[in-house]
Symmetry: C2
Subunit: 332 residues, 2 copies
DNA sequence: GTGAAAGCGCTAACAT
DNA sequence: ATGTTAGCGCTTTCAC
């Protein structure tokens, strides 16, 4: 069956064609199309009419070539299939669209090489800017890219004046989760940390600090890392519970790991929260409908995405912290 | 705080610079970079060395301008925050990346105007191709675009030789779901259809046909439309159950609506599946962990995405149908 | 095997 | 208010 490649490529309508059709110069067409002021109203009308008559479509490549920048915003995430990112992506998209920009998506799986590839590609496309979640690249590399392209990093701080960042208030969220988990008199808490990444330490420290503040002693030996997935959460919880059967409260790095932790407790014959309570982080859309409904720290993912783009377009180097809130459901 | 706009724009390293550094002509650099055969091995070495010494980065815009096509694949969905699409998007991304392409994402909310805008933008960017879920645009408009850009549509058929399509086998899935729901002797089924869209009729018809095949009579009056969300499913289920209290089996257009239907049955004081069974469609990652775990028709979303891109790159006008399978859990 | 010239479609700068 | 010139960085075509 013949495909598209066989069709004769229709010659593209250019600004030159429109100019000829309207009986004006190229520049006048360009002005009319971009709605610039220095043009007679009736001339504009005539040009616009000619353009639509011919079915003119601006060539974004040519425009970008001339202006040295394209109306593209790069969104770099570890895995769009992880239910945390889609809502962020929608926020990014809406804010970008409001600014007349398109969005190019990159998945890195938290691999530093692929994070770098994504940045390089954004540069090759003369992206208007990059917003992203970076887990593998060190600060200095990111700082280097920030010199070539406007960059806003999510959930991670870069040195002042290097690049803006938009982070969820992980410290407050962790404190609230620990406070909830620490309510039982015999509380013995553990944590399921996300993948070992550059920003992971901050999170560990927040947990250790919150536990210390509640007189729970040094919990650092009860922090176990794992992939940020349901399976990863299950495996990590089993490891934690194998080593420390006395643990009766688990703080998971994200809801997916929280779900996995619940499954692990159940698989060991325990009940949630009776034998072990679980608190997640993110509040996925479906977390409220789970069995049992998951207690978690809610973050506004859509707002996160929008804020990322707004910070990018605002062209500042601020550190923005987004509020979080504890949602108590059935697992803690 | 000073932002990025204040930094002095570093002059871009071009192919010309590399040529000068390596002491060869521009053309030779281009050949070396693209790994073309007509070049002496040592010349290539020298050029490559010069390029990396200078930190040369190819300009995708310039390349696209010259070749009249960019290595970009447009992915058009209604809403990336709907948990159905992210897995598809990942498949699209991986297949695109394997072919050296980037992906630009568009959200249309199923609005025909925005579907059109997305297509126009893809054209403006000289996209290598477009894959998408179109709910608002009529066949002839899509056919028109298919003449300007390689296009593969998802879950919808276009006339032969116009564009390729990759669809899930909705008919089989519906038949299986109805078979499951029809097992109770007094079965009275209803359907929660997705938004009224161009492809909606095919789905309604599949349901009506499947019910007729099971001797369930004409169910067309028990099909109620609604937004493809949890809230939409709840509302639609309430409307259905208000009008037809005898309904004891609901086939939801997707898992989100299925979750909503379960909530509605529960809110009315009923039990699932005792008073009313529910079967969804999609099998979201979290559907197995819901309360109660949702019975559904599983589709391989990641494969769907990959197949979309492969069909695009293969440049055929085939109609590809993807297999589905029934997953029986607790709601039916 | 290599280099020189031409030009993709657009907009900034400079005329007029 | 409008037209003309130049050139963004690359690849295709054609010389050599």
């Amino acid at each position: 069956m013949p495909g598209h490649g066989h069709l004769p490529r229709v010659k593209r309508v250019t600004i030159e064609d429109v100019a000829r059709e309207a009986g004006v110069g190229r520049q006048t067409v360009s002005r009319a199309l971009r709605d610039l002021p220095e043009i007679a109203p009736d001339t504009r009308e005539r040009v616009l009419a000619a353009a639509s008559r011919l079915g003119y479509r601006p060539n974004a490549l040519a425009k970008g070539m001339r202006t040295q920048r394209s109306d593209v915003i790069a969104l770099i995430v570890s895995d769009i299939a992880n239910p945390f990112y889609p809502a962020v992506a929608r926020g990014v998209y809406d804010a970008a669209a409001a600014a007349g920009c398109s969005v190019v998506l990159y998945n890195t799986d938290a691999d530093p090489g692929r994070e770098r590839d994504a940045l390089e590609d954004a540069l090759a496309r003369s992206a208007r800017g990059v917003v992203g979640f970076f887990y593998g690249l060190p600060d200095d590399v990111l700082a280097g890219y920030a010199r070539s392209v406007p960059l806003v990093v999510a959930d991670r701080q870069l040195p002042p004046d290097v690049a803006a960042s938009v982070s969820n208030d992980f410290a407050s969220g962790t404190a609230a989760a620990v406070e909830l988990l620490a309510r039982r008199p015999d509380a013995c808490l553990g944590m399921l940390a996300g993948p070992v990444g550059v920003a992971a330490d901050e999170r560990r420290l927040a947990f250790v600090a919150a536990c210390a503040a509640h007189g729970l002693g040094d919990v650092s030996a009860r922090i176990v890392p794992g992939p940020p997935t349901i399976a990863g959460g299950t495996a990590a919880a089993h490891r934690l519970l194998d080593a420390r059967p006395e643990v009766n409260g688990i703080f998971a790095g994200n809801d997916l790991m929280g779900i996995g932790a619940v499954q692990a407790v159940l698989a060991r014959g325990g009940a949630v929260p009776r034998d072990c309570a679980v608190v997640g982080f993110d509040d996925l859309e479906l977390s409220a409908y789970l069995s049992p409904p998951l207690s978690t720290v809610r973050i506004d993912k859509y707002d996160h995405g929008q804020t990322l783009v707004r910070a990018l377009l605002a062209d500042t180097a601020d550190r923005i912290s987004l509020p979080v809130s504890l949602v108590t459901r059935a697992t803690a």
